[in-house]
């Protein structure tokens, strides 16, 4: 059943530009996908490793800023992508070494601090980041000759990256390493006694998580052709975490549903209601009250009960 759900969702997503009219909604679909990639990355830690990070917007932003700087300096698209992702992974490693000194609340607080350092640099180091004004890029690059300028072509490019992200997540979740990561979440003590290096497992999971956050950050820059401190703010980290929690932590589909929810409300509701944050907040409260495990596992539960199981 799970497999069919996933196939159906992917089929719908692949054909979005064909049945959705107007560039506005295609662009929203692109945003959903890129934030879904981000949320999938955050979910590796928050869902499978049991480590809640509130600093991942920092990693997301580092990829975006690095790419913007290198594009500005005239770098080619391969150099840009490689350098942005390499930088993100290196910074992720530094984040991980510092944050993994703690677990639980300690881990959360250290990631908040690290994220805020990135934000501080983005906001204050004007020579490097142009401060509050942010950095613009002239145009979306054309990787391997593919023009990404139109909303449709950008959507499909994002969709391909999204598929790779999903595939890598599915492989990770079903693999022995994925089982080890979940083991360190549930019984770190036992895992050590079983011969696992709990710290190293968490470290590698952090790098994996950081990598996909970086990919999302890169897509974000290409999409907006602009990055500013807003992208690396604490609220951006919190939003990513809310996507994961509202959709369902530790599930493959949850972060995608959560990303769709947040992006749609942000873009659609804000057209009608000025205080759209209120709508988002109310929906989250509703989710926490009625489906505390998240929308995806919650819907499965309700559906099963409806069938009299």
């Amino acid at each position: 059943m799970k497999r069919w759900t996933l196939a159906a969702v992917l089929a719908i997503l692949a054909t979005v530009p064909l049945w959705v009219s107007g560039t506005f909604y295609v662009n929203i679909a692109s945003q959903i996908l890129l934030y879904a990639i981000f949320a999938l990355g955050v979910n590796v830690l928050a869902g499978y490793a049991g480590l809640v990070s509130l600093g991942h917007a920092g990693l997301f932003g580092i990829a975006a800023y690095t790419a913007a700087k290198i594009l500005g300096a005239g770098g080619g698209h391969v150099t840009v992508a490689a350098a942005a992702l390499a930088t993100t992974v290196v910074v992720s490693a530094a984040f991980a070494v510092l944050a993994l000194r703690g677990t639980g609340l300690g881990f959360v607080m250290i990631t908040v601090a690290l994220g805020q350092i990135v934000w501080g640099v983005a906001y204050r180091w004007i020579g490097l980041t142009n401060g509050d004004n942010g950095i613009s890029i002239v145009a979306r690059p054309s990787p391997f000759g593919l023009a990404l300028a139109t909303p449709r072509s950008f959507y499909w490019a994002t969709f391909v990256v999204f598929l790779v992200a999903i595939a890598s997540m599915a492989a990770f979740v079903g693999s022995p390493f994925g089982a080890a990561v979940r083991g360190t979440r549930d019984q770190p003590r036992r895992m050590t006694a079983l011969g696992y290096n709990v710290w190293m497992i968490r470290f590698v999971a952090f790098l994996f998580s950081g990598f996909w956050s970086g990919v999302a950050g890169l897509l974000y820059l290409y999409y907006n052709q602009f990055v500013s401190p807003q992208a690396v703010a604490l609220t951006a980290s919190a939003e990513a975490l809310l996507m994961v929690i509202s959709g369902g932590t530790g599930t493959l589909l949850g972060p995608i549903v959560g990303a769709a929810l947040v992006v749609v409300i942000k873009n659609v509701a804000s057209a009608y209601i000025e205080r759209w944050n209120f709508v988002l907040g109310a929906i989250f409260v509703g989710i926490v009250v009625f489906m505390p495990e998240g929308l995806v596992p919650g819907t499965v539960r309700v559906w099963r009960r409806g069938r009299g199981r």
Partner: protein, 252 residues
């Protein structure tokens, strides 16, 4: 290594001290267990039995003293490496993976000692050799019929046996059992007792038991701990006859 005259010990603990703040939990504990031996450690609550296990597995670092595994000094070897060297343990408080099936629990124990545990590319479900071995281990504790049941849906007695299965899966040279009978009914106790008796002789077993009667027939030698010190050690008869044992167990 050691001089030829000395007989090999499976586990040798010398002068082991551990204090939590001002509280001495073990003071100067000496313990020497021969290969294949069945050793029982008894003592009242707070005698330092579990702390001794935590020191042997490396979960705690001793303030002083040494630990040798088959004449190899492992005092400074990290806990996870000790698992690879052949120390396995069970926990007094069930420490298993409640969301996973019994098979997955045991598979995780098997995986811990192979390099496969780092592999993010293959599917765990397709590791047929590993999963077949996990079923074998579950059969050893007579739980193979429940292999695909989530741990959360099993009884307490069954979980106790999974605890032992996890440790057996690690193919240990020294097996530390921390109160394997705790909380079990008389019938369940008999099952676990038979199970422990069936463990082959190439595994050295050290068992903590709070209650002296339960595990007496298991033990070849008994060590009595009292306030972090070894007060009596010897055969069953020697320990039972020792005045200090009576003092500790029947004083008040």
């Amino acid at each position: 290594m050691a001089e030829g005259a000395r007989t090999v010990t499976a586990l040798a603990v010398r002068g082991l001290q551990k204090a939590f703040g001002g509280l001495r939990v073990t003071s100067d504990v000496d313990l020497s267990v021969a290969p294949g031996e069945r050793r029982l450690i008894i003592g009242q609550n707070g005698a330092g039995k579990t702390t001794l296990f935590n020191l042997i597995t490396g979960e705690l670092k001793p303030d002083r003293g040494t630990i040798h595994l088959f004449e190899r000094d492992i005092t400074r070897v990290p806990s996870r490496r000790r698992a690879h060297l052949g120390i396995a343990r069970t926990y007094q408080i069930i420490t298993l993976f409640p969301r996973d099936t019994l098979l997955r629990n045991v598979a995780l124990a098997l995986l811990g000692l192979t390099s496969l545990r780092w592999n993010p590319f293959v599917r765990l479900e397709r590791q047929t050799a590993l999963l077949a071995r996990a079923r074998e281990v579950l059969a050893q504790v007579a739980l193979d019929h429940l292999a695909d049941r989530p741990l959360a849906q099993t009884s307490y007695g069954e979980r106790r046996r999974v605890e032992i299965a996890m440790a057996l899966a690690q193919n240990p040279r020294v097996l530390l059992l921390d109160e394997p009978f705790a909380g079990l009914s008389i019938e369940e106790r008999q099952d676990v007792r038979a199970l422990v008796k069936g463990i082959p002789r190439d595994v050295t077993i050290v068992m903590i038991e709070h209650d002296m009667d339960t595990a007496l027939d298991f033990a070849e030698r008994i060590t009595v701990l009292h306030f972090g010190e070894v007060v009596v050690e010897g055969t069953r008869a020697e320990v039972a006859a020792h005045p200090r044992t009576k003092e500790i167990y029947f004083a008040d």
